[in-house]
């Protein structure tokens, strides 16, 4: 937007929303919304507590393990589906069902299968993230131009080199887009999993603060979580832009 002849960056409007939050919070009109400033103070104090640190570590651990599995399995299955029609036909319907299914309904099942603990959360993260990675990888592999593969073959690339040096790199923009969307979904997965399991990590703290009506700490938790999710998404987007230059000329 342009204001008085100056370009005001898009994200600057978030400051406006923060000010609105502060004003609403200070007015005391809504009990559940404390002023942003006191939430930030609470957040600052919170990150220094051992409770928060261990909760964050548990959460981060479940998230990274689940995401690592989702990325590995997602790319592998996506490549297979993109290259082999039989695999595509076999798994296509399931991937398309699960990518938009209400997976929150599966968490209770996971809880009885994997116990009320970290494993359930890891599996939840995996299930939330993996399908979109599969779909985007598959699309990327299918968009690799045939001439590029024929070029590799005609210059005598071994199948290994063909995949490592041509197919995967050519599909990289889509794969990265899939991973970014997968990360966003994975964060939702870790939160939903921990809320339902509710005895570990962030879920436990959410439960604790919301039961004791400790709004400052509740919002502090939320803000840290949102900020972490945004930062991660922005980081991947940054990498994506770096590879985008060749997506256009493929």
């Amino acid at each position: 937007m342009i204001l008085f002849g100056y370009r005001v960056p898009m994200m600057a409007s978030l400051i406006v929303w923060c000010v609105i939050w502060e004003v609403v919070g200070r007015s005391g009109a809504l009990f559940l919304i404390p002023p942003l400033s006191s939430v930030l103070v609470a957040a600052f104090a919170m990150v220094q507590t051992a409770t928060w640190q261990s909760a964050a570590l548990v959460t981060l651990h479940s998230f990274s393990v689940g995401m690592a599995l989702a990325i590995l399995v997602g790319i592998a299955l996506g490549v297979l589906m993109g290259r082999f029609k039989a695999v595509d036909d076999l798994f296509g319907i399931w991937v398309n069902i699960f990518v938009s299914a209400p997976l929150s309904a599966l968490v209770p099942v996971l809880m009885i299968l994997f116990g009320i603990g970290e494993t359930t959360v890891i599996v939840t993260v995996f299930l939330f993230a993996v399908w979109i990675i599969v779909l985007d990888t598959r699309a990327g592999i299918q968009h690799v131009p045939n001439s590029l593969i024929e070029m590799g073959r005609s210059y005598g690339a071994s199948p290994f080199a063909l995949y490592g040096k041509i197919v995967l790199l050519a599909a990289l923009p889509e794969i990265l887009a899939g991973i970014r969307l997968g990360l966003v979904r994975g964060v939702k997965g870790v939160v939903i999993g921990q809320l339902l399991v509710s005895i570990i990590g962030y879920g436990e703290l959410f439960e604790l603060y919301s039961r004791s009506f400790d709004m400052e700490n509740f919002w502090a938790l939320t803000i840290i979580l949102f900020a972490a999710a945004m930062l991660m998404s922005a980081a991947i987007e940054h990498v994506e832009k770096k590879v985008d230059y060749y997506a256009g000329v493929r």
């Binding site: 937007m1 898009m10 082999f84 029609k85 209770p108």
Partner: protein
């Protein structure tokens, strides 16, 4: 784009020749239904075997789950549950749909609205909104209102963002065409921008509905057990695992069928270029 890229037709050029029996392959490529059916059958077979081993005391066979599903339909408990689950979902999606599409279009048309609201919705879309569900329980209690709000919170951002992006990226050549024939601003919006944006707006509605399903189930599991959430929680507590699995399968089935129906409706209504024949 936020919509997951679902690439319909496989690109034939990339697929190497099949190694799986030429005649079977030909049959399947002529009848994609054959593949889908065999894919379903294989999955259910694997489930049945895993249940018979059993891999866990809490893992019923596919046949037992199917029997439970039929009996829950027969005694009507499943339908009663859906009666209460679908209420907040339908109300929430209707509200998010109307508000989200209008807001998205306004943001796409007005630079001021875009500047003010787009970053907010980008944050809300990427953030795990589920974390706020415990909060609404306090304020709005445990009734229909709280659950409807949960649905709106999860569904609204993606609907708004898709509408906004679709309108913002409306084909500039078509807009110029409308201007060159002296179309008014209103005609430009009604006859060019909105029709051009409608496929992506619809994709947003589908994504919103999918998010709404997640939201309503989460609300039913977290806030108070009602509807399908109640069936899942109750049968789990009394160790009726087959019934519990049947409830979970049914909600995945219902959401998948609803989304597929919406997609085919969209194709018929809005996308002549995707229609067959």
């Amino acid at each position: 784009m936020i919509a997951p890229s679902r690439v319909g037709g496989p690109a034939p050029a990339v697929h190497p020749p099949e190694g799986l029996g030429a005649s079977l392959g030909r049959l399947a490529s002529r009848h994609p239904v054959v593949w889908r059916l065999s894919s379903l059958v294989l999955f259910f077979l694997a489930w049945e075997i895993a249940g018979r081993v059993p891999i866990s005391y809490a893992f019923p066979t596919f046949s037992a789950t199917l029997v439970a599903l039929v009996s829950m339909m027969a005694d009507g408990s499943l339908f009663v549950a859906y009666g209460s689950t679908l209420q907040p979902l339908v109300i929430g999606i209707a509200i998010s749909g109307v508000v989200g599409v209008v807001l998205g279009i306004v943001m796409g048309l007005s630079r001021m609205a875009e500047w003010l609201a787009a970053p907010l919705f980008v944050v809300l879309q990427a953030a795990p909104m589920a974390a706020l569900i415990p909060l609404i329980t306090f304020v709005y209690g445990i009734g229909l209102l709280a659950k409807t709000l949960a649905v709106i919170m999860l569904a609204l951002p993606v609907i708004v963002l898709n509408g906004y992006k679709a309108v913002r990226n409306a084909n500039p050549s078509l807009v110029a065409m409308c201007r060159s024939f002296q179309g008014t601003k209103l005609q430009q919006i009604a006859k060019i921008i909105v029709p051009d944006a409608s496929p992506v707006i619809f994709a947003g509605l589908r994504l919103g509905l999918a998010a709404g399903f997640i939201g309503v189930i989460l609300a039913e599991l977290l806030i108070t057990p009602t509807g399908i959430g109640d069936l899942i929680t109750y049968h789990r507590s009394v160790a009726n695992y087959a019934e519990m699995y049947a409830a979970v399968v049914s909600i995945i089935l219902v959401s998948t069928l609803t989304l597929a129906a919406l997609e085919s409706f969209e194709t018929r209504l809005l996308r002549p270029e995707k229609r067959r024949g």
